[in-house]
Each structure stands twice: as C-alpha cells, then as structure tokens.
Amino acid sequence: MIVPVSYYLVLGAILFSIGVTGVLLRRNAIMVFMSIELMLNAVNLSFVAMSRALDSLDGQVFVFFVMTVAAAEVAVGLALIVAIFRSLGSADVDDAHVLKG
C-alpha cells in the first residue's frame, strides 16, 4: 500500500502545531526546547515528503542543513539552560524575571 503524500503533510502540520502549543504552554525551558525541536522535525518531515512528491532533491538537501543547524542550536541551548539552572536553581522560564518593564 502506498501512503499518499498528503498524509505526511497533514502529519507534519499536526506535529508542528503540537510543537507550537508546547512552546506556548510549557514552562520548563527543557520542555519548551523539546517542543521547538518537534517543530523543526515536523518541518523536516514535510520537506522529505514534498521532495518525494515533487521528485526533486532540494528538499532533502534542506533537511540536512536543518539537522546540522538544529544540532548547533542544541549545543548552545542546553549550555544556556544549564548555566541558568546553576544560578537560579530552576529551569522554569517563569522564574527568570529580572528583566521587565
């Protein structure tokens, strides 16, 4: 059985929406970050599915770039979260509220 491309695109859209919801609702920085990763991977899924449907390689190439950049972002992001956990004793984004006005 061949799964139609539209299924993948819908799945990608659903995953992306779950990711967005997670970013907006979650308060723990790690969870927020994981939701962002979910968004990026939803994008990757859409890219690969479209690449297959359009019979063009550009989408697959793009996925490689997304993965590389996401890896760099993970390295920076986790370091930042660890740093703020050390000085705050919590990774809750609501606990970080020195800056306001």
Partner: protein, 481 residues
C-alpha cells in the same frame, strides 16, 4: 574548474575572511593571559577592516557590470546592494569591537570568544546579504543568530544577562521554526528553493489561488519579523537589549536590524516579487503597528537601555516603509541604517562610558545633571538622541526625509503620515533624557570610565552623524553612482 572555484570563493570571500580571523582569535586566545587579551580586540579590528577592504574592492569591480556575478549555482550573488550592506555590517562590527575591551576588562569578562563570536555573527550577515536561495537565507540567519545567543549571555553568571540569553534563544529558535515551515510550504507550492525559480513560478504569478504559497509567505514573514523585531513579534527585544552586555546590545541594535532588513529585501523582491499584492498590504499594516507600538512602549520606560530597545522597534517600523517602497527605497533603507547604526553605537558608547565596575547608568535618573560633570558626554548623548528623534540638522533628519520621500513616491502616503506623527511622539522620550542631563540637579556623582577606544568610536559616530546631516547628498550620490 579553476574558474568555477575562483568565482565561488570570490562571492563568499568577505565571510571567509571573517571566519578565518575568528578562528585565529580562538586559537591565539589559548596562549594569552587575561591582561593580554585586549590584543585580540585589535586583531578583530584588522579582521573587520580587511573584510571591509575586500568588499570595497569588490564593489568597485562590480559597479559597472550589467549582470551581477553569481556563485554556488546561483545561490549567492555579488551585487552592489549586497556589498553596500556588507560594508555597513563591517563598519558596525568595527565600532562594536572598539566599544568592547574596556567594558569586558572592567567586568572581568575579557575572553577571546567574545571577538570570535562577533566575527562569526558578522560572517552570517555577510552571507545573508548575497542570499539568492531559501537555503542561504536560513543558513545566514542562523549563523547570524547562534553567536548572538551566546553573546547575550556573555556576562554570565549575572542573572540579567543569562535571562536575556535564554529568552533570546528560546524565542529565536521558535521563530526559526516558523521560518523553516514557511520555507517548506513555499518549496511544496513551487518545487524550488531558488529565488529566481520562485519568482518565475506559477504560484507566484497567481498567489491567491495557492493556499500553501500564501501560508508560506505568512510564516516566513513571522520568522523574519522576529529578527527585525517587527510588532507583534518584538516582545523579546526590550528584555534582551536590557540584559545583554552593553557592547553586545550596541552591536545587535545596529547590525541585526540591518541583517534582517537585507534578508527581507532579498526574499520579498528577489524571491516573491510577483506576489507583492499579497505581502505589501500585510507588511504596510505591520509597519504602522510596529512604529506606534515601539514609540508608545518607549514612552513608558525608565531604563535607558529598554527605552532605546523600544526606539529600535519604532525604527524598524520606519525602515519597513523603505522596504515597501522598493527601488529608491533600498537606497533610503541603506542610508537610514547607516545613520541609525552610527547613532545607536554612539548612544550606547555614552552609556558605556557612564559606568565603572559596579555602577552603571541605566536608570534615566542617573542622567540628572550629567552636563555639569561631563559636558562632553552629555553633548554627545544629546546629539545622538536628537538624531534618533530626527531633528535637523542631524543625520537622523535626513535619513527620515529620504525614507518618507521614498514612501510618498511609492504611494504609501498614509504610512508616511503615521510615521511622521510617530516621530513627533518620539521626541518626548528622547528629549526627556536631554532635559534630565541639562536642566535638573544631580543626585550623585555619576560613575565614569575613560577609554580611548570608546572615545574613538564615539568620535567616528559623532562626526558621521554631523557630517551626514550637513552634507547628506554625498553618500547618496556615492551609493547610486
């Protein structure tokens, strides 16, 4: 083959130069003691200067060409617009490095990564300036942003800096998600990521019949809107600009905005030109909202860094008028960004001077009676603030004049009216600081730290602001020649 390579390397030569300088800075840093690290600043100055020489030479070579040079299979282009933007980035980088060493030493933050990250971030902007493909757009934005996430938190373990960094990072990555999804949808609708093919695609010719294409444009605007702090995606700006170390804030205010603007211009005009009836009205409304929101926000601030952050949001709104005007508008955007960069670097330079190891002059009250203690600093600050407000004969006036005339000639009269009203509103909060400095009694002796490098940067900024105000047409003629 050789010819092919030569052409490709030429296109990314300035970015390569910056990256190599950054790598050398990282390497040399290992052998230096803390008190010797100031040398890295001088070395990065050479990096920015060298990259500047490269782009000026490329600009002189490219100026007369009919068809611009492209590289990497059409993914990058070497044209005058991109090169002029790169000159701007390198000038901002140069001046930001001048602001940094004294501050970093006082705060015990003198680490080599600072200069390397600044160089890497500028390399990202340099790539962005020539982007002709959605892949390059994405890569440029990320290379620009990731070093800035770290730089915002450079004053670790200060909580405000860490918080700024975390907020910038989380919201920045969130915006990247939108940008990427928009890219994916555009790719799905047209089957290509290259700007040239996007422009020629069927979907771009009749965008309203293609939901995927429309959604892609909207999501891309969200992602880029975040980078230039366009309302309603500007929420991170005041927090990040307040918490980040002051030299980093100065760099971000001036350079990131320019990087975001060039990305927007490339995408909208080179990639989505035929679909302009979709994004034009949308961006027009957002521009009006952005400038109003920024100015009203700035009115309510008591912290000078936050005030300048909100003012930078308002300026993003003004700049969008130039982006929307196209053609002449690009010249206006470039000149405005140059003036805006000099002015902001100057203002943040003065903020930097008014601090020592512990105390810093961030609250507006700490500017009371400044003119009595440091007349020079107060005078410079006044010039910069007046230029931001757009008073003649400072350069800010001329910049606004260029933008607004470009807007009117493009038929955006309503937007220009909103912008002029906003400029009037903005005078209040800029003038408030000046009034504090000249007309009120001081509460305490302000902190002050002398630095020749900062003085140099301030001199360049002040001379630039005054000269561009007095002889405005020179730079326009130079650009359009």
């Amino acid at each position: 083959m050789e010819r092919f390579l030569a052409q490709n390397w030429t296109v990314i030569q300035p970015a390569l130069f910056l990256v190599f300088t950054g790598l050398i800075v990282l390497l040399v840093d290992l052998w230096l003691k803390e008190e010797e690290r100031e040398w890295l600043a001088y070395f990065s100055l050479v990096g920015f200067g060298g990259a500047g020489v490269i782009v000026v030479r490329q600009w002189l070579a490219v100026r007369g060409l009919e068809t611009p040079i492209t590289g990497f299979g059409g993914m990058m282009v070497l044209d005058t617009l991109g090169l002029l933007f790169q000159m701007l980035f390198f000038l901002v980088g140069f001046l930001a490095v001048l602001l940094a060493p004294g501050y970093l030493t006082r705060r015990r933050l003198q680490r080599g990564e600072f200069y390397a990250l600044l160089l890497f971030s500028t390399a990202g902007m340099s790539l962005l300036a020539g982007a002709q493909d959605l892949i390059m757009l994405f890569l440029g934005i990320e290379v620009l942003s990731i070093p800035l996430y770290i730089l915002a938190g450079f004053a670790r373990p200060r909580l405000d800096s860490e918080e700024a960094s975390l907020k910038y990072f989380l919201l920045g990555a969130f915006a990247t998600g939108f940008l990427l999804y928009g890219t994916a949808l555009l790719y799905g609708a047209t089957g290509t990521t290259a700007f040239e093919a996007l422009r020629a695609s069927e979907a771009a010719a009749a965008p309203r019949e293609n939901v995927m294409f429309m959604a892609g444009i909207a999501l891309l605007l969200v992602g880029l809107g975040f980078k230039i702090s366009m309302a309603p995606f500007h929420q991170w700006t005041p927090d990040v600009y307040e918490g980040a170390p002051t030299p980093v804030t100065a760099f971000m205010v001036a350079a990131t905005k320019a990087g975001g603007m060039v990305a927007l211009i490339r995408l909208l005009y080179w990639g989505l030109g035929p679909a302009d009836d979709v994004w034009r009205p949308l961006l027009g409304v957002l521009a009006a909202v952005t400038m109003t929101w920024g100015n009203v926000g700035a009115l309510l601030q008591r912290n000078v860094k936050r005030m300048l952050a909100y003012s930078s949001i308002a300026h993003a709104g003004y700049l969008l008028i130039g982006v929307l005007s196209g053609g002449v508008g690009f010249v206006a955007v470039l000149v405005y960004l140059l003036i805006y960069a000099l002015t902001n670097l100057g203002a943040f330079g003065v903020i930097l001077l008014l601090e020592d190891g512990e105390r810093e002059a961030l609250d507006i009250e700490s500017y009371r009676g400044l003119a009595r203690f440091h007349p020079g600093a107060a005078l410079l600050m006044s010039v910069f603030l007046l230029s931001l407000a757009g008073f003649p004969p400072t350069a800010g006036f001329f910049g606004k004049f260029l933008l607004f005339t470009a807007g009117i000639s493009a038929g955006l009269t309503w937007l220009v009216v909103v912008a002029v009203l906003n400029s009037v509103l903005s005078v209040f909060y800029y003038a408030r600081v000046i009034v504090k400095m000249y007309m009120q009694e001081p509460v305490e002796t302000p902190a002050f730290s002398r630095s020749w490098l900062v003085a140099g940067a301030l001199a360049v900024a002040a001379v630039g602001v005054v000269l561009l105000g007095l002889y405005p047409t020179v730079v326009v003629r130079l650009i359009t020649a």
